[in-house]
């Protein structure tokens, strides 16, 4: 079975084509284009306009790159939520139009669950992980328990990516600021104390952000601030992930989301996993960020387990929580 997926929850519009072979996910193509604001954060309408101008070309290119014919596509999947309304609607409209013209079924999927399933689908040893999902908007610790994907811990205020972006932007860096902060952090030498906020398995970053901005105003070395931010925030993320692993007695950890590209975060989570005898996985780079292939793959899993969606039900849901998904494809 071949499935085409369209991702459009935030700044990235992505189209991927996947093929299921013996229950494994083979990515045939996975193209994307990211809206980059000239200044400030993401503007939902501008991002949606960007997606609308890109999506048709991306579908064409992705199908060509996958070396399939439109007639071979069996299913069209799209990101139903959570995300920014205008962006979600643009991706969903494109998916509806494509499904109708190909006369193929349409299915909407949960973006956060897709981040987890693409790990399970493309990494053979990854079977029942705790996912640390770290992106601009989302920071969640997710695992499968009692029939659903449950959020064991999440940010109580802002996502870690957003925290890094806000700090970077306050100093004039351009989005995405995470990679720039990572470079500064490598040259940091002195640790500046920052709030380390954990409540149970939940986490908060706004205090850390305010204090880091204050250090910057006082003229502390930028390298030291970036180093301290990464060390503090990532230690807290690693700790809540480990707590969730201990709580659920799971022995695998998976990273996902744009911030998973950060080498220091990867190293920390990997050390944590090694020390507790657990396995550590990161999907291939293009499958970690927001992408169409993961949407296609989750669409396939849902369709295969018997889920069908009518056109009327294909309305988007900006507040589509991870634990709202009925998981019919796992025992």
């Amino acid at each position: 079975m071949i499935c085409l997926g369209i991702e459009g929850t935030a700044h990235t519009i992505g189209v991927g084509v996947v093929k299921a072979v013996k229950g494994r996910c083979i990515v045939l193509s996975n193209l994307m284009n990211t809206y980059l604001p000239e200044k400030g954060g993401i503007h939902p309408r501008e991002a949606a306009n960007h997606h609308a101008s890109q999506v048709a070309g991306l579908i064409q290119a992705s199908v060509e790159h996958a070396q399939v014919q439109y007639s071979q596509i069996d299913l069209v999947a799209y990101s139903q939520g959570p995300g920014l309304g205008p962006c979600l609607r643009t991706a969903a409209t494109a998916a509806r139009a494509l499904a109708l013209s190909l006369e193929k079924p349409l299915i909407g999927v949960n973006h956060c669950v897709a981040h987890l399933e693409i790990g399970r689908g493309t990494i053979p040893e990854c079977k029942d992980p705790i996912l640390l999902y770290v992106s601009g908007a989302n920071t969640q610790v997710i695992g499968f328990a009692e029939g659903k994907y449950r959020v064991f811990g999440e940010t109580l205020d802002i996502g870690i990516g957003n925290c890094l972006d806000k700090f970077g932007r306050s100093l004039g860096m351009q989005f995405p600021c995470g990679p720039k902060i990572e470079q500064y952090a490598k040259k940091g030498t002195a640790y500046l104390e920052l709030p380390y906020t954990i409540k149970g398995m939940d986490i908060a970053f706004s205090g850390l952000l305010t204090t880091a901005e204050e250090y910057a105003r006082r003229g502390n070395r930028l390298e030291d601030i970036c180093y301290s931010m990464q060390e503090t925030a990532f230690a807290a993320l690693t700790e809540v992930t480990e707590r969730a692993m201990a709580h659920t007695e799971k022995h695998e950890v998976l990273l996902g989301g744009g911030v998973a590209a950060n080498t220091r975060l990867r190293t920390m989570v990997e050390i944590m996993a090694q020390e507790r005898g657990a396995r550590f996985f990161v999907p291939a780079k293009g499958l970690c960020v927001d992408n169409g292939a993961m949407i296609a793959w989750l669409g396939y899993l849902m369709h295969q387990s018997g889920i069908r969606m009518s056109l009327n039900d294909s309305i988007i849901n900006q507040r589509f929580r991870t634990d709202m998904v009925e998981v019919t494809w796992r025992d």
Binding site: G81, P82, A137, N138, Q140, A145, E146, G147, K148, R150, F152, E154, T155, L156, Y191, E193, Y196, I198, K199, G200, M201, D202, E231, T232, A235, T238, E239, E242, R243, M245, A246, H247, T267, M268, V269, I271, M272, E275, R276, Q318, R319, F320, R321, D323
Partner: protein
């Protein structure tokens, strides 16, 4: 006698050890090499100190907790009484309806006793409660604090609510029963705390 590890948690090992010829439990906080030593040392000594302080305080509020015999701040070790009970997490799902409701209410009463004295547990889950001698003992105050704020009490209960949702989802009324017990024993207006919990739920992503 060699020490036996009873449980390996995320931040500490719980070991059975001999101390003055008695069988005791030691909670040993483990150094984490994923974090830099400044953060590691700070977290370990701060949490050990806070935990020992809060456990002692909780006892004076009438909440069952293990007795503390010794505290080592540098090593991050608390030596305490060995409770030969069962974790609520492991027994709650197999209890009969009446016992389950009774246990949940008792949990709520104990939390209210803590909150009456502004003690915030910080990690209220059913794995941190041990049924021993028909009393519910609270353990693991490692993320606890003292706070007069309503917000802290709300967050404390919200953590427990989430734990029930993920671990005891078969019985969706557990938290309601806990709150019934809480209302009974809380000396201030529990409806303010309830409102705070609703606030916190709404504040969560995508609510």
């Amino acid at each position: 006698m060699t020490d036996k590890i009873l449980y390996r948690g995320a931040e500490a090992e719980i070991c059975l050890t001999a101390y003055h010829q008695k069988q005791m439990v030691q909670k040993r906080r483990v150094k984490k090499s994923y974090r830099i030593k400044e953060i590691d040392a700070q977290l370990i000594s701060f949490r050990t100190k806070e935990e020992a302080k809060l456990i002692t305080l909780a006892r004076t509020c009438g909440v069952s907790v293990p007795l503390i015999y010794d505290v080592d701040l540098v090593g991050g070790v608390i030596t305490m009484e060995y409770l030969r009970g069962k974790r609520i997490k492991d027994i709650l799902n197999s209890l009969g309806e009446r016992d389950r409701v009774r246990i949940c209410r008792k949990i709520g009463e104990s939390i209210a006793l803590l909150h009456n004295h502004d003690i915030i547990h910080g990690d209220l889950t059913t794995s941190n409660m041990i049924l021993h001698d028909d009393r519910i003992h609270f353990i693991d105050f490692g993320l606890g604090s003292i706070s007069t704020e309503l917000e802290a009490k709300g967050v404390d209960l919200h953590v427990l609510m989430e734990a029930f949702e993920s671990t005891h989802s078969k019985y969706p009324d557990c938290f309601e029963r806990v709150f019934e017990g809480y209302v009974k024993a809380f000396q201030r207006d529990a409806s303010d705390v309830k409102k705070k919990i609703d606030d916190i739920v709404r504040r969560g992503r995508y609510r």
